[in-house]
């Protein structure tokens, strides 16, 4: 009894670790007794092999093609031995971004402007909407949730296609604008306007921002907010000092969730823009569609991976941490 009192109390973390380890040990003993060692891994084996052959190996092929050579007719010849790799296509592609002619640079610059702007717009509006539904929607919360989730069940293509119809020179948007005399002549929205493409990106990806933010804001303990108010903070101050700091991680995760697919997006621009608003994804798509463009497409894919690897790993790391806590 006394020794318990005088012994240094273990931190909460230690306790949790010990308990976890104890559980792992009993689990291990139990399953060793009942199941042979290969039993559970054999369940995971088919999908693991599938991923190795159809996800990891294709990435190796991307390297082999990007750093491969071409035959006499210009057909790509992949090289599967890393020690024979040639970097000529890759450096050639880099030249197109940073060299003198800089043929690809505008698309890169556009991507680096459009994606952050669109992601920020997603965040600002998405946060406000998620906040309203989590905090103020009351009994209608279920209805709001279904409405918020409905874009997930409507194909992205259908949603962008729908906007394409509305934004035609003789489409509904122009008709309304002309009818209320906001503009004199119809605006050609689809001729490669950055505004159209950015709004298209926001339209396409904002649902992916709202739902995780909602999930997070909905779980904030109301006692924390009441405590803030009891201590004399105004509602605005409670928001700024309690809610917002608490949601920092959810905001970061949401930004990554919407930005990642935007970096690879080529279809929004194909449907709502023109070559004047082409993005990084369009470069890849054009390369892969052109005959013999494999090495070029491979190099571009590798560059995109380099650009995205840090946010990707951060996101996977943070979701795994969330799973362990939950």
């Amino acid at each position: 009894m006394r020794s318990e009192v005088t012994a240094p109390a273990p931190g909460r973390g230690d306790q949790r670790v010990t308990r976890k380890r104890a559980r792992a040990v009993t689990d291990g003993a139990r399953s060793r007794a009942l199941y042979p060692r290969w039993y559970w891994p054999s369940f995971a084996a088919p999908a693991t092999v599938w991923l190795a052959v159809l996800f990891v190996l294709p990435f190796f092929v991307v390297f082999a093609v990007a750093f491969g050579t071409t035959d006499l007719f210009g057909n790509p010849l992949p090289v599967y031995q890393p020690w024979y790799w040639s970097t000529s296509t890759f450096t050639g592609t880099l030249q197109r971004f940073f060299g003198a002619d800089a043929f690809y640079r505008p698309a890169l610059v556009r991507t680096l402007v459009f994606v952050p702007v669109a992601s920020l717009l997603c965040l600002v509006f998405g946060y406000a909407i998620a906040y309203y539904v989590a905090r103020h929607s009351g009994r209608r919360k279920g209805l709001f949730l279904v409405l918020l989730i409905s874009p997930f069940w409507i194909s992205y293509l259908m949603r962008v296609y729908a906007w394409q119809g509305l934004l035609q020179p003789d489409g509904l948007i122009n008709k309304v604008l002309v009818a209320v005399h906001l503009v004199g002549t119809p605006i050609n929205w689809l001729e490669g306007k950055p505004l159209t493409v950015i709004l298209g990106l926001v339209y396409g990806y904002i649902p992916y921002m709202i739902l995780p933010l909602f999930g997070f804001l909905d779980r904030i303990d109301p006692n924390l907010l009441e405590a803030g108010r009891d201590l004399g903070a105004s509602p605005a101050k409670t928001f700024l000092r309690v809610t917002l700091p608490l949601s920092r991680q959810a905001i970061l995760a949401g930004m990554i969730i919407v930005a990642l697919p935007m970096f690879g997006d080529y279809y929004t621009n194909d449907l709502l823009g023109s070559t004047r608003t082409a993005m990084f994804g369009n470069l890849i798509d054009t390369a892969v569609e052109s005959p013999g463009g494999g090495p070029q497409a491979g190099s571009l894919v590798l560059m995109l991976m380099v650009l995205l690897i840090v946010p990707l790993l951060y996101y996977l790391h943070s979701t795994r941490k969330a799973q362990e806590v939950g």
Binding site: L54, V61, P151, S155, Y156, L260, F263
Partner: protein
Amino acid sequence: MSANVGVRRWWRDPWRKPRVLQTLTWGYLTWSIVPVLIAVAFSFNAGRSRSAWQGFSLRWWVGSPSAAESLLYSPDLRTAVVQSLRLSFLTVLVAVPLGTLFAIGIDRWRGRGPGVANFTMLLSFVVPEIILGVALFLAFTYLMRSVVHLGTFAQVLGLVTFQVSYPVIVVRARLLSIGKEYEEAAMDLGAPPTQSIRRVLMPLLYPAIFASAALVFADSIDDFVVVRYLSSTSATEPLSVKIYTAARAAPPPSVNAAASFMLFSTLLAITVGFLVYRRITRGERRSAAREFIGFQV
């Protein structure tokens, strides 16, 4: 009377917080849903226009066989419908068992292996689709040229590779929420491991399996990035790819009909999935709707 008071209060202080947010939320929902409804409506237009209403007709859905311009009678769109359904069914048939087994496996397998396998799985899920599409296209055209030919086979392989994560995520969540007690009770009562899995664990997992089948079906029907790179001829292009190609020229309302068809199939799959889910989890205390929606996030 009370509405009157409300209006007066609003007039005095229109920027009270919830008002602005409420307007914003409703505005957003209108902005997000109405364009799609309009696109669906124009699939019933009597004329060729996507923007001027010329009366109601089913011309673009089931119109005359001779004109071959409707979803039903245009040979192009008809093969695409069949191809869309074929790809989605095959993807469900392969991805759901594969993912379910994987989820059970990594839930119990101890050591370093499951971490690496799960990490690879999640990576395949969050990598932008165009990267996966190009990687598979290059792999199938060069390294695996003699094994995999572009077309339906390659498309199913590609779809399964990133759809397999849905059953993994959903089944793992279910495994966490049911715990190990039932299975252990079965084993304490003398059931051998294989039987306790087949007769106790599997029935408990059915809701998750059905839910993920619905999600995989809905998402495969909508996909066009991977599927487009891995198609061989125009006969293996599903509806989504046809819509994408047509949308870049001047699409007739039959394309709206095609897109609406996709929309209705997706909604049907999700609704059936939800109803089945609710039916089998009946009697559990959690809200089925809440949980089902949770799977999407």
